[in-house]
Symmetry: C2
Subunit: 398 residues, 2 copies
């Protein structure tokens, strides 16, 4: 995904530093990352609703929200989920080692983990690397963005500036996705950093709104992870706050844009994916139903496989909308277009140029637009196609 105008890849907001090192859990790639603020910051998170929550999720939930956080660490390769009481103990030992090195308290260090479920953390590899991790911090997000990846093909980060009435603040977003992606409250791992002055309660609302429009609207495979979490970290280093209503609105819009860009990047880089699928369900009389329906279409393996094969098998889209309980009355008057070509209108199939639609489906982004002609609500969801590569990746992982 190429960022739009005004967006940069890896610049961090003022007062932030980041690093990523290889501690040896993975063979060569960085697998241990740190985000550090030069002062205490406001930190809030949204977490997986999965009842099987990883030890780092339980821990981070216990210390957030906070206005005293100094650092966030992430290890990739091991999820530290379904690891019982030993997993909780090892998580804490790791946090204490990092906190000790940084000379801060344990409850000032947030943790997220990603990787294989059910393995105990390799502390023998992680602990000796803490020194390196702290000493190698830099002013770009690059090494951290790489250290959090699992089967992702590309690192995902983006940065933007927001001009507030009092001056300019920066928002930088970093995330990882790839497999077991069907976030419920948050994405696999997402980090939104800013140097704006933000209160804990502002941060909570800002994060909730941004994730509802972005990470909570993507799906790679419908499997919700045990480790999903998304954080907003605001260290106030710019000195500019969001007290004015216009500033808050502007900041919210920019934060949502960053989150949507990252969410699209995750969908486009889903395991085995070759295409990003964007589904909009508009004209709905119920927002919740529109969100469920849009997301349902991105979830259907039949639709995902058809799009992979550039097959305009639109009947599967109708079937999925019906399965998601879009009312029959709306289905009987709806319009459907694929890549802008009208396929179904007023509840009846219409003749369309199949070879042309086939060739439009060769593009790397596929747009499906549904107009239920029943109300004013609209929702957009993102997913990816289903390829043989997805099966290949997931037959050999653990």
């Amino acid at each position: 995904m190429t960022p739009g105008p005004g967006l940069q890849r890896t610049k961090l907001p003022l007062g932030f530093l980041a690093s990523g090192v290889n501690c040896g859990v993975r063979r060569y790639r960085p697998d241990f990352g740190l985000l550090l603020s030069d002062r205490p910051m406001v930190a809030v998170g949204v977490f997986t609703l999965n009842q099987c929550q990883a030890a780092p999720v339980v821990y981070s939930k216990s210390i957030l929200p906070s206005d005293q956080v100094r650092a966030l660490i992430t290890n990739s390769g091991q999820a530290n989920a379904a690891t019982g009481t030993e997993g909780v103990r090892r998580n804490l030992q790791l946090v204490e080692a990092v906190a000790g090195k940084l000379n801060v308290k344990a409850d000032q260090v947030v943790v997220a983990s990603t990787g294989v479920i059910g393995e105990q953390l390799h502390l023998d590899k992680l602990l000796p690397s803490v020194g390196d991790l702290v000493s190698r911090v830099q002013e770009t997000a690059e090494s951290f963005a790489v250290s959090i990846l699992t089967t992702d093909l590309v690192p995902k980060s983006v940065s933007t500036e927001v001009s507030l009435s009092t001056g300019t603040v920066r928002i930088t977003g970093i995330c990882k996705g790839s497999g077991m992606i069907h976030p419920n409250m948050a994405t696999m791992l997402g980090y939104l950093l800013t140097d704006a002055v933000v209160s804990v309660s502002q941060a909570e609302t800002l994060l909730k709104k941004a994730t509802d429009l972005s990470f909570n609207m993507i799906s790679v495979d419908g499997d919700s992870s045990t480790n999903d979490c998304c954080f907003l970290l605001a260290n106030g280093a710019s000195g500019h706050n969001l007290e004015k209503h216009e500033d808050l609105e502007k900041f919210q819009a920019a934060l949502s844009d960053v989150a949507i860009f990252l969410a699209q990047s995750i969908a486009a880089d889903g395991e085995g994916a070759t295409k990003l699928i964007e589904v909009t369900v508009g004209g709905a009389d119920d927002l919740k139903m529109a969100r469920r329906a849009a997301r349902g279409v991105t979830l259907s393996p039949l639709i995902k496989a058809a799009i992979h094969g550039e097959d305009p098998n639109w009947g599967r889209i109708l079937a999925r909308l019906g399965a998601e309980q879009v009312p029959a009355a709306s289905l009987q008057k709806m319009n459907l277009s694929i890549q802008g070509v009208s396929i179904f209108a007023g509840g009846e199939p219409i003749a369309f140029d199949r070879p042309m639609v086939r060739s439009l489906l060769r593009q790397s982004k596929v747009q499906i637009e549904v107009d239920l002609q029943s109300g004013a609500h609209s929702a957009t969801a993102w997913g990816c196609d289903l390829s043989k590569k997805y099966v290949e990746i997931n037959t050999e992982y653990s």
Copy 2:
């Protein structure tokens, strides 16, 4: 799937006849089938809860339940779904042609269709074949069972006898499955025939109980079809009724066994499937949760792909149970076994012989057993593995 002792493939109950012909919608294979009773019969059905319901579903729902049905027709290759008002008209025209030929009323003929969504029925092919269809009826289910298939590799039928206190009755079940299989109230297409004397209200209860234990517990890909239906047809030709409580119980058990055998056959013959997966969630304090959890595991593409690769990636099972909202308290004390080998006990991972489990996963049936240690409820669901072949089949279908 090999039927167990006492089960036969294609024998029909007394008074039933069946046929299947090629009308030309599909190139060579039979694609138009008829089930005929020599007398009026009790007929009840359960239908898809998809809001996008095919014309034949809407029609069959409108004439059932009934105690005057004489015949049931099914065409394969075209689902007659999302075909608007023209689809409704063509469905009726087909029914009237068959009823005319049989010299019965239109509301004595039930219809089911399966195939591509969104195409108008080829009446130019179907109508000229009605004569053949009626004249070729036989006393076995074979040709009908073949005529209803789409991407299924094998026809699916089974027959059993039940010894009631007054004499013996027969139950024969026929079905098709393969893709877009995630029944919600019924399977893709299921037909349960019997020569027992059954009232309409008995038939409704019998069918509901049997489908809840069988077709409603299987999933190939999580996509609920527009055309799912399952019928129970009872013509009373044996003269033996179910008035005695023991007879009703015995009949219910036999009917459920037939339905479970057919449901397993559908899962084992899912598109691209190489293995049948059976998931039992026991020790649950809530039956609904146990059913959702068992079915959830069969739905996970990550688990399906891991089993395809004979990879005992049990963490994905834990993750899915948590995502299906199995309470954290149960997850923290549950046991899990794969192919009878204990993998996780009392909420903690345990060491297991990975190469041995890998080799056990080479078997064509994979059993996953979860004991939540929290209550007395239990549910079993069936699914299949996810292979590259599934992707191949579904990238080129319409």
